[in-house]
Symmetry: C2
Subunit: 248 residues, 2 copies
């Protein structure tokens, strides 16, 4: 099982690893096929009933440590089959998140978690964005990876064909304003690479470059996942207000 520490092996077999009781519970709830479970006797005795797995192994803490991607392995390691493309996805929000060459697994996972919070169900990534099945992405997503459709595409081509306004986070953009009227319900938010920002090819497809005003600040930039959070919140306020009106 230790071979699955290699991302390449996981990619080839279209599987991915989750670790720890919290993520294991999300994995069981997701309904994805469980290829294998390696867990402590304690965890297994508490969860054997609610779980269907191809193979189950009771392991010692030392064996778990050899398998784990983390410094402090936690009771359970699970190998899951990836989602297949034919599933239906409910689009609960008009926003699509597009990621251009995001490299840091923590940022990627955090952006999936934020998207999940805001009801964004579709994330479109350039092919060189970090895999959503990277163990650190899965962990930082806090289960969002189970609830989000993540596609890897030729991003400039996808943006050009999507037929929606494309808001791009850019230090050369127009400051976002307190009133965000006039934003369409169906939009794309594009976030660029942590150090280089949005690539030239993707930027050519941006209809609305936007900047988060920095008042009197001195930092060069915001963390990509923080900028993504602020802009998702900004772009979705209209939808939220419309929804509130509809519920009255």
């Amino acid at each position: 099982m230790a071979a699955y520490r290699l991302q390449k092996r996981c990619d080839e077999e279209a599987v991915f690893v989750v670790e720890g009781p919290k993520m294991a519970a999300e994995a069981i709830a997701s309904g994805l096929a469980i290829r294998a479970v390696c867990a402590t006797a304690e965890w297994l005795s508490a969860h054997a009933d609610g779980m269907v797995a191809e193979e189950t192994f009771e392991v010692s803490p030392a064996e778990l440590e050899r398998l784990s991607n983390f410094k402090t392995p936690n009771q359970v390691w699970m190998l899951l089959e990836r989602k297949v493309g034919s599933e239906k996805w409910e689009m609960r929000s008009g926003l699509t998140l597009a990621l251009d060459k995001i490299q840091d697994p923590g940022n990627m996972g955090t952006m999936l978690r934020t998207a999940d919070w805001f009801g964004v169900r579709h994330v479109v990534c350039s092919r060189d964005t970090v895999s959503c099945y990277n163990p650190k992405v899965v962990q930082a997503s806090m289960g969002a990876v189970f609830r989000t459709k993540v596609d890897y595409v030729d991003l400039p081509e996808w943006l050009s064909a999507c037929g929606m306004p494309v808001y791009g986070a850019s230090l050369q953009g127009k400051p976002i304003a307190a009133q965000n009227t006039g934003i369409a319900r169906e939009v794309v938010l594009l976030i660029g690479n942590e150090s280089r920002g949005i690539s030239k090819e993707a930027m050519a497809q941006v209809t609305d470059p936007v900047l988060i005003p920095n008042v009197g600040g001195t930092a060069e930039s915001l963390n990509a996942s923080v900028a993504a959070g602020i802009l998702m919140n900004y772009l979705l306020w209209n939808n939220y207000n419309i929804k509130k009106e509809e519920q009255r």
Copy 2:
């Protein structure tokens, strides 16, 4: 020098470590006293002129690796003396960020970076919040730690005495609205622990519990540093608009 990998040793001597050319440049610009520099011959020859350090050592990449807190050490390792309390700090924005038991160094560093972006110059932390001189905090802050006053205090006591409205991020709070009129210019934003939220003692001092509306989302919560970013942006919009008016 490897002894300074221990946080305890750094605390005792009131020093901290920064690594890599980008942070080293920030450190030199900050004017803080440089206790020691360990760097490759290449880095030293490029930077020897602009720098005053008590001790300078030329090291090999292998030696740098033994010193480093990171998997991929990068040219330069530097030991700096911490800021002393008597300095004057310019308060450029009316917002003070308060952190209650933040544990993750990445979150802490990212929040300092976001505060720096928004011109927030004062961060007040509970005594059990992770040290702003933790190497991973310093790195994630992208230099913000050099430009921000970070105090560790009895937080409930400080909040009770500060004389400002205290906005606290809480899943039980009132949803923030698209219009944020009526927010004072001088406010405190309180962010709680990553898994347990704001402690009972600190919550007792919150005047305005606030929630980021989640539209149709399914995630249990937002990452602490993302929530902090969205709420800083929200609370500072008034200030930004007032500033723009004043500049006309």
